[in-house]
Each structure stands twice: as C-alpha cells, then as structure tokens.
C-alpha cells in the first residue's frame, strides 16, 4: 500500500466522520484504517476533539426563528384583496382622525403662525411631520425676520 497517498485520502474522508456526514460504508473504511494507522488515529482523535467543541446556537433561538417564519408565512398567505381592504380601512381611519383634529387643514398651510410660534421660543410647539423633509424643517416661505430669529436661537 502507498502509505502517504492512502493516508492523505483517508484523512479527507475521516474529517467527515466526526459530524456523521459519511456514508456507512465510508465510515467503516475510516474506522478500519485507523485501527492499523496510529498517525491517522491521532488525527481523527483531534478532529473528534474539535467537533466536540462546536458552539451551539443560543437557547430559544430556534423557537424565535420558527415564530418569525410562521408570522411571515401568515402575511404571505393573506389574500392580496384582503390586505388591500385592510390598508384602505387603515387609511380611512387616519383620514377621519386627521379631519377630526384639524391636522389636515394645518398641514395644508403649515406656516400659518407656526414659525412665528417656533421663533418666539414656544418650547411646546411641535410642527406637523409635513414640515420636514428628511428630518430637516422646510424653510420655503419663511420671512427674513423669522429666519434671523431662528438663526439667533441656534447660536
């Protein structure tokens, strides 16, 4: 037997033994070889040792993933038409709320008094979201005087 070649191939095969990924007939070949080859026996022992130290996923992760998959699956299985109606109903509810609080009218003309309140230092004034683009307040239509007051406040 060409010992070097046989051991090289056998070690590649043996490296699948610890995880149980070998076919039964290959597992038997590896076990037969290490019976007569001390070097490969030591190598297999090391590989088994490394396998024993494999990290396990955190407790509870499996349940979390399955729950997330079930939730995702439910969303996917909800008929589009039903999802459409749900979205429409949600939009209608928001619209009704906006109308009832007068928010819609304020948003249509956001600067009526708003910046003056802000410039006057009213700490409780919170402008509507429509006044912002990417988190930065819109300054169109703000008078020079108001801008100057704002800049002074920032300084």
């Amino acid at each position: 037997m060409n010992r070097t070649e046989a051991c090289g191939d056998m070690l590649a095969l043996a490296s699948l033994h610890p995880s149980g990924a070998l076919r039964p007939e290959d597992a038997r070949r590896v076990e037969g070889h290490v019976e007569v080859c001390p070097e490969c026996r030591d190598a297999l022992a090391l590989m088994e040792r490394v396998h024993q130290a494999r990290p396990a996923p955190p407790m509870g992760l499996r349940d979390e993933i399955v729950a997330a998959l079930v939730a995702e699956s439910e969303v996917r299985r909800t008929p589009l038409a039903r999802r459409g109606w749900s979205a429409l109903l949600a939009a209608a509810a928001v619209l009704a709320l906006a109308l009832s609080t007068g928010l819609l009218f304020q948003a249509a003309d956001p600067f009526t008094g708003g910046w003056d309140d802000l410039a006057s230092g009213d700490p409780f004034h919170e402008p509507a979201d429509d006044w912002y683009v990417a988190g930065v307040p819109l300054l169109d239509g703000v008078s020079e005087e108001t801008l100057l007051a704002l800049m002074t406040d920032f300084e």
Binding site: D9, L11, A12, L13, S15, L16, P18, S19, G20, A21, L22, R23, D26, A43, L46, M47, R49, V50, H51, Q52, A53, R54, P55, A56, P57, P58, M59, L61, R62, E64, I65, V66, A68, L69, V70, E72, S73, R76, R77
Partner: protein
Amino acid sequence: MEEHPEGSGPGSEEAGLLEQCRSGDHRAFGRLVREFEGPVFRFVLSRTGDEDRAADVTQETFIKALRALDGFRGDSRVLTWLLAIARNEIRAGYRQVSRRREQTLESMADPEDPTPGPDEQAVQKDEVRRVSGAIERLPDKQRMSVSLRLFDGLSFRDIAKATGTTEGSARVNFFHGLRKLREWLHDQEDNDESD
C-alpha cells in the same frame, strides 16, 4: 476518492421539506430550522466572531429564505443556499438591536452528554475553552474551513461556495488549519505538564 456522498442539488427529502414550507406547513418550518439552524449559526459565528450578531443574522437568513423560496431553483443543496443568503446578510452589514444573551462561549458548547456531573462539566468547559481558543486564533479562511468541515461535515465544494474560494483552496485551508491546531494544542498540553 469521492469524499462526500451528496449531489449538487437537494435530495428528495430536502426537496419535500421545501415543498411543505412553500405550502406554509408550520411543522415543516420547525424541521427546517432544527436541521439547519446550527450550521448557519456556526457559519456566521465563524465569520463574525459575535454571538449576538450570529443569532440575529441566522434568524434573518431563515426569513429571507422563506421569502425567496419560490425562486429557489434547486440547483444546490439547501444548506449551501442558506449559507449564501447568510453570507449576503453579513456583507450587507445587517444591524439590529441585539438580544443580549448572557452566554459565554463555554456555555454555548454543544455537549454530547447533556447531563454530566459537576467535575465532568468543569473538565468539559476547560476543554471547550482550550479548543475554541485555538480555533479562534486561526486565520479567517482556515478557521471557516475547519469549522464548516468538522462541526457540520460540509464538502470542500460547499465550503468553497460558502467562503468564496476554490474547492482546492478550501481543502488546503482545512489541512493547514488542522495542522496548526494540532501544534498549538500539543504545545498547550506540554506547557500544562511543565507547570
């Protein structure tokens, strides 16, 4: 010598499992996660070294896989496909408010015997700490080849796909890494004996 029995695509069992997942079978989700959670988690952990992030990326990988299930053509094994998704998630710099798990590497080890006595537990922890420390010292590609091969029995072909290298390099990285582990662990044992 043929070193691994799997073909290039999913076996009939895996294909059946995916089909059940496609149809929304919740028990199939459980089987899919039980089968592949460990290998995906260990793969991400070997690349990031961060347990919380590995858990987050593992979860996101399964969700992405479910969303992409209809597009999976079945030209690779399921694990190879999942690892490719995980790899993309890592690259995308997936961030999420991490769950803070009070776990150390030793407590995460996957023991063969789930109920050892206190003395045996201490010996096991010491052994896991020693071997894990040596694995962590390996260069990235050697560490990934060693862990994917010895922890989860991936073929060199699948390791190459998962790590973005060639099959030959995956094999060379594995054996270089294994040789270093042997040297380092022997050195540690020699030092312990001389102390």
